[in-house]
Amino acid sequence: MSGTALEAGSIPAPRASIGPHLLSIADLGHDGIAEILRVAEAFAEVERRAIPKVPTLRGRVVATLFFEESTRTRLSFETAAKRLSADVLSFSVSTSSVKKGESLRDTVETVEAMGIDTMIVRHSSAGAPAQVARWAKRSRVINAGDGWHEHPTQALLDCFTVRQVLAERQGRDPGELGTGCFEGLSVLIVGDIRHSRVARSAVLAYNALGARVTLVAPGSLLPPSLEGWPVEVATDLDAAIGRADVVSLLRLQAERGSGSFVPSLREYTAEWGLTNERARLLGPDTIVTHPGPMVRGVEIAADVAELANTVVTRQVTNGVAVRMAVLFLLLGTDPPAAPDEPRKVPAHG
């Protein structure tokens, strides 16, 4: 029977703790990522119910603080929090006192004074969530994308989706695969790596799980230094694409095509886009991911976006379960914090 409450025992007891904050994939390591993927499978099951809601975070308050525009990430986090029965407060810069000149720090302190348990922060400045975490006295902080730095939950849902597809092909449960399915997997990340928070998180996540990551981009869109990055770099997409198990495309922002990073969008598409011609070089089982929003005709041809192995819609669906897992693992095992009793949260960094 589907119910409003999850039956006792069907939410897995956490095996590894994560937190207190999720600012970077580096905070998780292999075991943290594995635990999130494991718990997310249970929540994916919840989502398939008639009434996809559990009381796990009842009484908890989750605030989304988005200082930069976003559609899918905010909706995904808010949906995840609501399915866990948390109260959700939504804060966006266009309607807030930030417009009146309030500083980030004051905003954070104000929001926290309302008894918030978790702040989900998106900001155009790299590191802003780390600073919010330093200022926060009792809240947990989740990075929902900060500048060019990281977008941890995007990388987690990419990994979750890839494992799901691999499991289906083998007719097994994704949970049974553990993280062994990533061992030696060849992942190609293509596009504007330099300005991509998705790429930075994806490199860390795939690497932690044992995959081999190759970056493909024009030189001007690679980070100035790759010292310490566990990656290989290829310049010829045609040569690299046939060997890839996963091709991870990144959005090219239109302003990057204005001439200073690449000569034109047309040339970018011809050399580094997943065109129909180039898609023919893909292996039959190669999975194509894209964090969205897609710019069809630039980094991905419209027809390619519709191929069976292109899992963009599935990524969006899985985003909710993965974010439920993150919220649950950060919050679900704690007693709610009393506003007058600051919880000891170790400083980050």
Binding site: A126, G127, Q131, R134, R197, P223, P224, S225, E227
Partner: protein, 449 residues
Amino acid sequence: MAEDVGVATGRLLVRGGEVVDATGSRRADVLVIDGVVEEVGASLATPAGATVLDAEGALVSPGLVDLHTHLRQPGREEAETVESGARAAALGGYTAVVAMPNTEPAIDSAAVARQVLDLGRGAPCEVAVAGAITAGRRGEALAPMAELAHLGVVLFTDDGTGVQDGSLMRRALDYARGLGVTLAQHCEDESLACGGVMHEGAWSSRLGLPGMPSVAEEAMVARDLALVRLTGAPMHFLHLSTAGSIELVRQAKAEGLPVTAEAAPHHFALDHSVVAGYDPVFRVNPPLRTTADVAAVKAGLVDGTIDAVATDHAPHAPETKDAPFDQAPAGMLGLESALAVALTELAGPDGPLSAREVLALFTWRPAAIARLGPNDERRGGHSAHGGPIVPGAAANLCVVDPAVRWEVDPASLASRSRNTPYAGRPLLGRVRHTVLRGEPVVVDSKVQR
């Protein structure tokens, strides 16, 4: 040598220290009468009514001279004033600082220069000023350098930015040569720095912050050295931070070009890895660079390529620094910690220099660049700094204990701002007393007014 600054009346005995200056070092007491050194010798008798400063175990050096201080007045008094900055300077052992002209309005006229000089007259540290090279520091037209030179201004800079236009910089050098003044450059080619907020390299790439590459500094150093070669005008290079810049200046000095250079303490004490936690206290311009650059700055200080340590003391009010890293203003405090940082990094157990050699970088060498030494003609009405501690010298002294271990406490700084990058970092060596024209303005590491 009439000076338009007052001197303390009365007698002061600095007892039991090791006197160090450009002539050497010796164990000696220093007797000061009415602001002037009266006698230097072993076991001097204490005159009746004299104030005694204990210098046992300490070095007695000329008062320090900072070539690069941002006092923020006029315009940013919430971050610093001439008075609060001078108190910070005195605590750091300084008896003279050169105030940078990037105030609001800029020091690009006699009126603003006079205002800052007047504010400095009663302060616990002497305040000289640097003038702007271009009007409003906008990099478009020359500032009235001759008018400022008449007030005794000898250093000119658009610091905060470099003069981007090469032909304007060339004309400025031609003009300055005739006036007998020195131009100082903040070397940063903006087209190459490209809005970067930290050093471009491994850390900026990992942290997702826009970086400014070393070549942004080096390209302007190279251009300006070529202009010095062309014009024959002297130049001073501010806060050099890259191995490449230092090598360019090393070669230029070997060639005989009339150039000097300074380095800031944070560029030989900290590297870009400290930005990992995104704390804006580590945002500074030029940015903190690699460990190889840190080593090159130290090597430049050791071999004399870099003439002086200058603080680039850059106060910012807490509310402006409490921002995302890329939105916070660049700059860190320096006056109260500079000598201690240098002694720790350069004269510690494994350091390449002696304490006296470190003091040279803070005293007679910068005094010569600022033309505040005893043999400089006008000194803009200031007393003499950095000279030998001998009878007849102005009693501007710093007593520093090189063995004291301490930590900077941001909350107790004399500066109005709190943006020190050294909080919680153990330092070796601390200023015990500072004497300004015979007056003990700092006693036992406490400012007296």
